[in-house]
Amino acid sequence: MAPILTVRDLTKRYGGLTAVSEVSFDVEANEILSIIGPNGAGKSTIFKLISSFVKPTRGEVRFDGEVISGLSPHTVARKGVVRTFQETTIFKGMTARDSVIVAHHLRSRASLAGFYFGTATARRDEQEFGDSADEILEFLGLGPVRYELASNLPQGHLRALGIAVGLAANPKILLLDEPFAGMNADETARAVEMVRAVRERGLTLLLVEHDMAAVMKISDRIVVINFGVKIAEGTPAAIRADEKVIEAYLGVEDETIGL
């Protein structure tokens, strides 16, 4: 089966600085692929390149066979490639539920004029989105806090809200930006379960992450980036044993690479 997402020779240069260089890999449908690498390796740049928040200097990203690199971010989202953000990116003035409802935008059948006049179609959309939002929030454990303002939510809930908002946009592939950052062992275990459950819904997941233990536990495959270049790709077992990877992480405690 053809991969759902292909990245070919992806390169990004900022003036004299090369953040990402000739990175290529495939993502299979319904798999969980993680991109890891030391700090400053270029992981988040790759992330932004794939979701088209940054345009590549060279190379291309294809989704379902179609080139998406260079398209505007909202068009890419419309095609089914949805990214999440770090937990500080929220709608400050909206409740969790409202944020998730707005995130359903891509599913609307009413037109903008319909939105304005509140036509029957728009109202039906609204009703459905409300129900769907409740379901998603429940699924991610945010049911009890859904009427809270996003700005009042603690970090853990905000992380889940980010995923909720991503799910509402009806993605085929969801890009998770450091979903386990700053979590303790318990929280990480719960988050790992949550990510697994999202995959069960039929989505493909692409993670950028630092937390090695979580990555090893949850990923089907891993891509390792260092200094903007792909240095390894494979199953967690293969990566764990890969010398280049160990060398890249030299100086990092053994436990964190899951040895």
Partner: protein
């Protein structure tokens, strides 16, 4: 919406309409202060333009260029009426649409800018409009366009729905009703906008453009849409203003006016749809009243303005009791 709140709102609107359409004209007739018709018409028209600026604030941009669209709208209407003999009533929507179209062309590149950069670009926009009015042959240059005839009658199927303005004994009264009707329509449309789902998209856009993009919101298009509506309102306000003044010059709307539209919004309260209306009323009347102060007029005016900004940095309407404050939230409970 809770029934009680709804009832209160309807009552407030009814009272407002009553005051504007019945009480004020009666008071003016009784006191003989027909000059107030002109003053209040100005307030109404300027508040329409300010309402447009408010909408650009709503999508998170500081718009100091509304004067440009008021000027352009005024000129479009003036040229259509004087050179091409078009009826004022037809020229009005054309002026608005012309401004909206122009703003799409201008907005597409500049709406990517934010904060001070966007503000500064819009500031020069007003100057560009003025300089263009001076330079272009069609606008008559520095001498402007004068002797613009007052609006004619609106006849539908032979019935005179609105009489020609020069048949009114008190022409300014006719303009008053026109201006105030437009103001009510404009703000009703704005109110509906921010309370609709489209308004929620704008609010999302203002709060975080990146997040909104990731949800599939066509951010560039939505921004331009808001800006076009804003400029439409500016153009319409300008066109009616020109009809009242019966003339237009390149200096009819300047950077000062653009700044004032912005100040009107700010003073009223940027979080409230009716902020610009209140702000325009207070600032315009304040300025007029201070005429008595002679050479100290500007000093006292700006001094009070600064004071108000210090005391009420979130605008006059931030004094409203919370119960009636318009909520930007969705209805909280779903029906089971």
């Amino acid at each position: 919406m809770k029934p009680a709140k709804n009832g209160l709102r309807v009552a407030a609107v009814a009272v407002f309409l009553l005051v504007v359409f019945v009480v004020v004209p009666a008071a003016i007739a009784a006191s003989g202060r027909t000059d107030l018709y002109y003053t209040l018409s100005s307030v109404a028209l300027l508040s329409i333009a300010s309402g447009g600026v408010w909408l650009t604030f709503y999508i998170g941009r500081i718009n100091i260029g509304q004067g440009a669209y008021s000027l352009v709208g005024g000129y479009v209407s003036a040229i259509l009426v004087t050179t091409y003999g078009v009826s004022f009533w037809v020229s009005l929507p054309i002026a608005g649409l012309f401004c909206a179209t122009a703003s799409v062309l201008v907005g597409l590149p500049i709406l990517r800018l934010r904060g001070v950069y966007f503000a500064m670009v819009t500031l020069i926009l007003t100057e560009v409009a003025r300089l263009a009015a001076l330079a272009l042959p069609i606008t008559g240059g520095a001498k402007g366009i004068t002797n613009i005839p007052p609006p004619g009658a609106i006849r539908i199927f032979g019935l005179t729905v609105v009489p020609a303005f020069d048949t009114f004994a008190e022409r300014n009264a006719a303009f008053y009703f026109l201006s105030v009707t437009m103001m009510v329509l404009a703000f009703a449309a704005l109110w509906r906008l921010v309370n609709s789902r489209l308004g929620r998209l704008f609010a999302a856009l203002r709060q975080n453009e990146d997040l909104a993009s990731s949800m599939g919101l066509n951010v560039p298009m939505l921004r331009v849409l808001a800006y076009a509506i804003s400029s439409f309102l500016g153009g319409v306000g300008g066109a009616i203003f020109v009809a009242i003044a019966q003339s237009i010059y390149p200096s009819s709307f300047t950077v000062n006016d653009s700044v004032n539209f912005m100040l009107n919004c700010f003073l009223g309260g940027l979080s409230y749809v009716f902020g610009p209306m209140l702000g325009t009323l207070v600032l315009y009347f304040g300025w007029d009243l201070l005429f008595q102060a002679g050479e100290y007029q500007l000093l006292i005016y700006s001094g009070v303005m600064i004071l108000l900004m210090l005391l009420l940095p979130n605008g006059l309407l931030s004094l409203r009791p919370p119960a009636i404050r318009p909520s930007l939230r969705m209805p909280a409970k779903r029906t089971s």
